[in-house]
Amino acid sequence: MTDRKVILSVKDLVVKFKLRGKVLTAIREASLDLYEGESLAIVGESGSGKTVLTKTFMGLLDANGWIDSGSIIYNNQDLAKFRTEDDWVKIRGKHIAMVFQDPMTSLNPLKTIGKQVQEAVELHQGLKKDKAKNAVLEILNDVGISDPEKRYNQYPHEFSGGMRQRVVIAIAIACRPKILICDEPTTALDVTIQAQILGLLKALKKKYNLTTIYITHDLGVVANVADRIAVMYAGDIIEIGTSEEVFYNPQHPYTWALLSSLPQLGVKGEPLHSIKGTPPNLFLEIKGDAFAPRNPKALKIDFIEKPPYFTVSPTHKAKTWLLDPRAPKVEPPESIKKLRQQWRVENV
């Protein structure tokens, strides 16, 4: 994977927000390389910074937020240095597009579906009138909306949740982006619809050669779609690896906790593994490993010094002192051991 082309590179990014007179650090020196054509999942709880991180790629931070330091290199330009809307307009949609969580609120209720998709087609593909309309019909067909001729003239309220999400995806695709960011694309949808939308996104990725980023809090959802998984906690990526590495051989105690708190891995009748406490207060400076206060097996050094990345394999690294050769051996929870075993058996 190392020989693959990096399409977007984030280095030591720090994002801050001013809130009620106080300064909150939402992203704390996060670094990330996105490879062309891959599908990366960013997983984390609310407030971990997963959405903020991706919003910086499109200049969509709220007015009270700013990039404090670090760089975001895309196409030999540093997006972190962009200041004006004119700069961003060249990137948004055409290069990087986004699918939002809630299809109920991300469409304009007063415009027909066709017009909303056509807007994007006219703006980004430069097509006019009939040609534009034909392109719209083709895209609607691509995203699995049957009878596009009729649907073209309908309004969002005539669509179900799953269908609306397909329209939102159609608008994003109509811009012909290189990178598609999907922010919790299926959270607001029913399970069966969720599976269909994930299938659709996978198919579109192939057809349009997209690089996709999925943002989600649910590890269960990403096993299907992700080539690589980045786990975020308190504004930093604490573990990143291929999907198999993160699921079968997780290293960071937080990743352990996230995985073992999934009910799919629980044993009926026994308590489910749960994470005590709450995420750290981002208004305060965080010392050491941000997860340490919630980790009952934390080491002393976890409270003193922030761990660097330790390499597990060429594609897998994690920020935890447990990987330091001097660290004592700490046993992961039972369910994680089971996952590991499964992996070893199949890798022999």
């Binding site: 609310s46 029913d190 399970v191 969720q194 599976a195 809090h217 269960g220 699921f247 999934l262």
Partner: protein
Amino acid sequence: MSNNEREILLEVKNLRVEFGKKKRDRFVAVDGVSFHIYKGETFGLVGESGSGKTTIGRAIMRLVEVADGEIYFKGKKISGKIDKELDKELTRKIQMIFQDPMSSLNERAKVDYIVSEGLYNLKNYKTEEERRQKVEKAMLDVGLLPEFLSRFPHEFSGGQRQRIGVARALVMEPELIIADEPISALDVSIRAQVLNLLSELQKKKGLTYLFIAHDLSVVRFITDRLAVIHKGKIVELAETEKIFRNPLHPYTRALLSAIPIPDPRAEKNKVLEIYDPSIHDYSNNPPKWVEIEEGHFVLGNDKELEEYKKILERS
């Protein structure tokens, strides 16, 4: 214990709920639904949005009118007109936990009032001292400090707020708790805390739960028996593990196949089943609600039931 000997706490018989007053815009949300819940068990009601699962919960809470059918609680009919005494008893004994702890707590009231509101309404305490004790005990039961009583909801995290929601139900000393998607609005790490709390309380207090959810992985973990509901009709009902082992109705199969598995290899080999209601040919052979194996009910016509039996024999 065989099912015949177990005490039935709640029984729903041929329940039908309609919305819309005029005939032409009448919508049948729940149609001919029957099930019962044993004392001390967790009964799951699973379906997609619009399937009518919440409406069933609300009908049991007596928040919506029943168009047809009956609901019995401990053998007493609780649907339709009931006397004041029973009304008061039910208000106490059947409690509800809501989905979104961000919107189900009164922002302007202190936790003390939120948890006590049911007590105030029913006046089932003798002295102020007794009320305070009850409220403090409920707080401790859900793992919150009694000091929190003087705070407002916005001072709490999502998980803590949901605990307040649970405390508000517990303070009434209920027998049946209807939990409507109690964890879907919570973060993954917090979900486990709330699920554990619910199971722990059930063990300690012998509570019975009606657990309404759309997330089958959660339902599998927490429920003993399970009913799958589609467009207002229950299509399959059995012990949870039986349903997961041998899902019979095509809708149940579609639902199960859509559960995300936290395992990349299994997930990549997964075959997604899509439910198409038009596969049922009910024109001259209407479906029946049949017990196909012990405790396992399914909706189907004669031809479908034959096939379901074959599936069971093969397994």
